[in-house]
Subunit: 328 residues, 5 copies
């Protein structure tokens, strides 16, 4: 679906005569216009025909087009002649399942056009566009401005998702060190997996963003570079956070193992303490259950009572002793 | 065995007068033809004589020929004068044993010839060739087109095998977190080994593919480079997946250890609970087994009945208590 | 808040006619003065208006200004035209909670001005300034001298905080190897987290400091470089200490796990020893509780006494034996 | 001991007038001969005098000579003016103790001489020399041919030793996953040590071999380079195998720990099952050991028999239940 | 304390008219002498005044002087104009506590002077100097010769200390795999710490020594380089040993954990075996302690005897069975 076509000049949207959804006519207007004019085309999960039409209009390379249509690419930056092709991954956090899901945005960047192909829901390019149209100084930078706007928003979302994962790691930590009995290893395992998924989306993007930040890319001016440097910087920050979370999760595995061992020990000691109390009574009962003819205590009037008292006393003494030493 | 000989011109198969299996005549036709003509020779587990004949025809280096005949090489790219020698490993997943098996394809790439020497079954070069002959734009790139077709197919297979391993890791995960009793450490160990085997086939290939992707190789044109970049890109992707699987397996080891500890604790608590119930009865029986003369309860008419009821009652109370606290 | 404005010439404070808090007038005095004069402006958590005024006066870049106002940046060095922008993180150790807290100082470095924007409490720029004004040879180096003075002090504080963490690691170690019963895994986990927090503040600063140390930065002279090299050197040292602490904490996790296992074993053996003593008495009592008609011992006059003595004797022997073998 | 002196010209051994063991005379013959003639001298654990004589003849550097005499060097490549000095380590597998032992070969490579100094037994330079004299195309490459022959053989031996270690790792794996009771941690520890020993001999050699492979060394021609590349390639292969073994051993440690936990659990459950059976009988016996006056069952004619049957029945039922649930 | 002042010319000590402890006069003699003359000054824990005098005489940089006085620097190489400043750490093994202690030597290297400032005991510069004065070929290399002599000796000591740690690791290994009961985790932890301390002294020195070895330093001639390469080489060797020790210690942690698990299991099985024997007797005694009227065995003449024999027999049979299966 062609979601949007717009022509920009000098940092502002240009009214052109072409129909708003007539791709070729809009691009013709740009070519006939001033230097610096460019058209921005936004596609959302286009079918093969739409993509084909766009590819023909701007002369996009077959392999890049294929990548844009298959939403399983890793982030990358490729140059095809004058055209720059950037793939980034969108991420979003699914509250229901505490998992991280991902989509893809492919950007084709020429000197007078920029095409965005989005795969997967959950990323509002429209609001990104609106915000960009309010920043004249950015929009003046030409088609690269659209790349900036998209990656800036994506990295913001990375930080949000990273925040969610941070919360989940805190939950796991709380669980590992909570007094109750539980085994957090499944949560830790799943979180490690989520963190790894996120890392796979983020890490390969660092290099491309660095190239933009250094203005190593055609169409990125010295003035535009600081904006990309800002994005690259945030990317590094979220990346460091992700690495830190992964390390914390490894520590959590260790702590969880310790906890299980301690739990086992606690339970064993509690059980042993009760067993000791029972054993004390049993030993006494065993002794007075013996059949010796000459056992004076047995004939005592209050022998039984005394015996019961001794049993109770021993139990209480043991109980208190175990309580004090922490076994109970 | 010489599996196939074909001469190509301008992206299409060329009918030459030479017999289809006459190596020297076919190559003579190429030499007598236009610039850009090339012969593609496919060998499958050739014997020394066949290999020798091919080596003489194209002037292949002794060491490269030896490597092509011994199917235990690691992936590599070597230059012998004008000739480029590439070794890649084929992989396939053996369903019966859940293991990864591997073979080898060696490619000799000259400016007017390309020789493929396959060792090991399970890789259909014929279908690769057919597919390639349908892609004129690729085939036009000369002998390198055959390298592209082979490596493209191989990396596709890597992704398939990676998918199988991913399924196996999911199985292991399910086993580790399943409620039943089991020790998944053997499966984790074996899978780690399979993943490592696969990594050894894949990782050393990245560098050679990058060189092709950068057109650093004689005979690879700027137009051909994007195709190799596509292969290199998929290779990186499958490589990242493999690394992720290895990390997950390490986590699975940790989770498995936790699980064993938890299992131990669960069993111990269950056992302790039953022991406690038996102990309660035994203590009571012990007391009324004592031989004191003066034990009024013993003379009570329903003393025994009451005692049995108390025993039953204590057991039920303990049972319910343990049930509630999760020990049973 | 504008905390301080001062104009320096030739390594000493210059009396200017401008009001001490009149930013623009002070800067005008610098511009009208000699080459090498510079103004140093110190801000503490400025509001948007103050920051705006400063930004306009010195022509600071919008993105850098934003970063200075948001105290969550990672340490970095960025060049905006002639201006150099440095972000460093302040750290301090909170005794009450044994945690590491952090703030931020952003420095804007021009050829005739230096602006420091501090976020967060706990760092006394005033004393840094006083100390700097006493070091003429440093202050002569121009605005970079302020950068040196700030980073030098910050790295000193890093070493102090590192010392605190080192003490905490020693405490944890003492706890892990102390004879009493305890599980240090929570402390280890928390400390790992603190160490990681500190590492995130320190590691990214190494690169910027290296650039200052190599005089790769406009406004840093060859004479100033050794001072920054000194700072970079201390930074490396504290960084190595941090890495060492992290490794020690990993070892502590391992040792803690061993300890828990050993504790479990000790407790089980103690419990088993007592159980064995009880069992010995119970066995004997059981035997003489049997109802055989013909059990001569039962009729013996001192049978009961002998039996009690045997029971006591067996208990003492067992007790001593277990004591000797370390089970009790 | 001077084990061998030989003069080569054009890929073949040259008959010279000098005595076969007269070092100086042989070298004089080379100097008086054609360009490309060279003398190869083989020493086995020479004493200081022999080494001194050789050093004087060829003008070897004092430090290199010292290294050749002390068989504890790490592999390295050093240039002393025109002379190239290479140290490699020989390895061999000692069947009796399942350990890897090591010696050293030092090579002095000049443009018209090559000196080999071997320390330690177990490496037959003689057979290497014979094989080399049969390969005219290699021997033509001058003194470097001897370096190739030695390193080629050494790397072959590395692969053999690696194969032995691989077998040992397989044994350990079999032990870890065998049904019987055993603790493989000692074997794993020892094997890790052996693998590390081997890695220390192999890893530092990769760089030197790469330099030979790139013909970065005086006296190594473009034609000789592919031979060294072949050696370097095998070295990389055996290095990767060694790394893989080390990783497997780490996994084996993990699996061993799991196994011990599982074993503990199995034993505990078996013991608990038998305890439960004994407890069932004891409870019953305890009840009928009570002394209540009114216990009708005690008077029954077959009360005792029924009681015994119930005891047996309960035991059988419990036994079968535990058998079924895998506790016995 | 100024420990020594000496003037050297052409590889030998020069008699000068100046008093042996008159720093300035000695240096004047060097300046008035031939090119290549140099003065060597050795200080041991100088006070501020002495250091100040030396600094003034040779024009040493304030920051370098400060570092020389504070013995907590990490090894480093710094250039201040013509002067080269090297800091190395001395190590020694304290037998009493099995720990590694460390001091510092700072070297100021000019074209006609070299100043050594030692902090900490336990390093005999005097013997180093004597040995150096015996090696004319080394001493001829100028002031760098002193650097060589000091670093050569220091690295020798590193190897000795490394040997001590290796012995300690062997002790720990013996303890982990010894039959007795012990928990080596404290020793492993401490040793890991010692190894890390040593690594922190050694690793940062590699880079400086490589620069000397490549004659990248003013005052180090091509002829002197091999000597430094020798030192750098030994440093690499001791560094590899240290890394290997650290890895072994990690394995020892793993093996120790396994051992504790196995120990636990052994103890549990032994205890269970004895419990089983006691249970067998108790069950029997319980049965014959029942009060059924009709229990024929009780009336048998030798019932009691038979019963005792059965009890003994069962115990012996169980004992032997447990012995055979390794539980006892």
């Amino acid at each position: 679906m062609i979601a949007n076509i717009a022509v920009y000049r000098d940092g502002a949207k240009l009214k052109v005569e072409a129909q708003p959804d007539d791709l070729e006519a809009n691009y013709k207007a740009v070519k006939a216009g001033q230097t610096g004019d460019f058209v921005s085309v936004g596609l959302h999960e286009p079918d093969a025909d739409e993509m084909d039409r766009v590819a023909k209009t701007f002369g996009l390379h077959r392999l890049a087009v294929e990548d844009a249509l298959h939403p399983v690419q890793r982030p990358k930056l490729e140059k095809y002649g004058d055209m720059v092709f950037l793939v980034v991954r969108t991420l979003w956090y699914v509250e229901e399942s505490d998992t991280v899901d991902s989509g893809q945005i492919a950007l084709f960047l020429g000197h007078d056009y920029v095409v965005t192909v989005r795969q997967g829901a959950e990323f509002e390019l429209a609001t990104v566009r609106e915000r960009l149209e309010g920043q004249t100084d950015v929009l003046k930078q030409g088609p690269a401005a659209v790349v900036y706007a998209v990656t800036d928003r994506i990295v913001d979302i990375y930080e949000e998702v990273g925040g969610h994962l941070e919360d989940d790691v805190d939950d796991v930590k709380a669980q590992v060190f909570a007094p109750g009995r539980s085994n957090a290893s499944k949560q830790i395992y799943e979180l490690k997996n989520e963190v790894a998924t996120m890392a796979r989306a983020i890490k390969p993007l660092r290099d491309p963003m660095q190239q933009f930040a250094k203005a190593d890319i055609d169409g990125v001016t010295k003035d535009a570079a600081p904006f990309f440097r800002d994005v690259a910087d945030h990317l590094t920050r979220v990346n460091e956070k992700i690495d830190a979370l992964d390390n914390l999760l490894s520590s959590a595995f260790n702590a969880n193992l310790s906890r299980i061992g301690v739990q086992q020990n606690d339970d064993m000691r509690r059980m042993s303490a009760w067993a000791a109390i029972a054993a004390a009574i049993t030993v006494l009962a065993g002794i007075y259950g013996m059949n010796f003819t000459n056992m004076p205590e047995l004939q005592w009037r209050f022998g039984y009572l005394v015996c019961l008292l001794v049993m109770t006393g021993a139990s209480v003494v043991l109980y208190l002793k175990f309580k004090k030493s922490g076994w109970l």
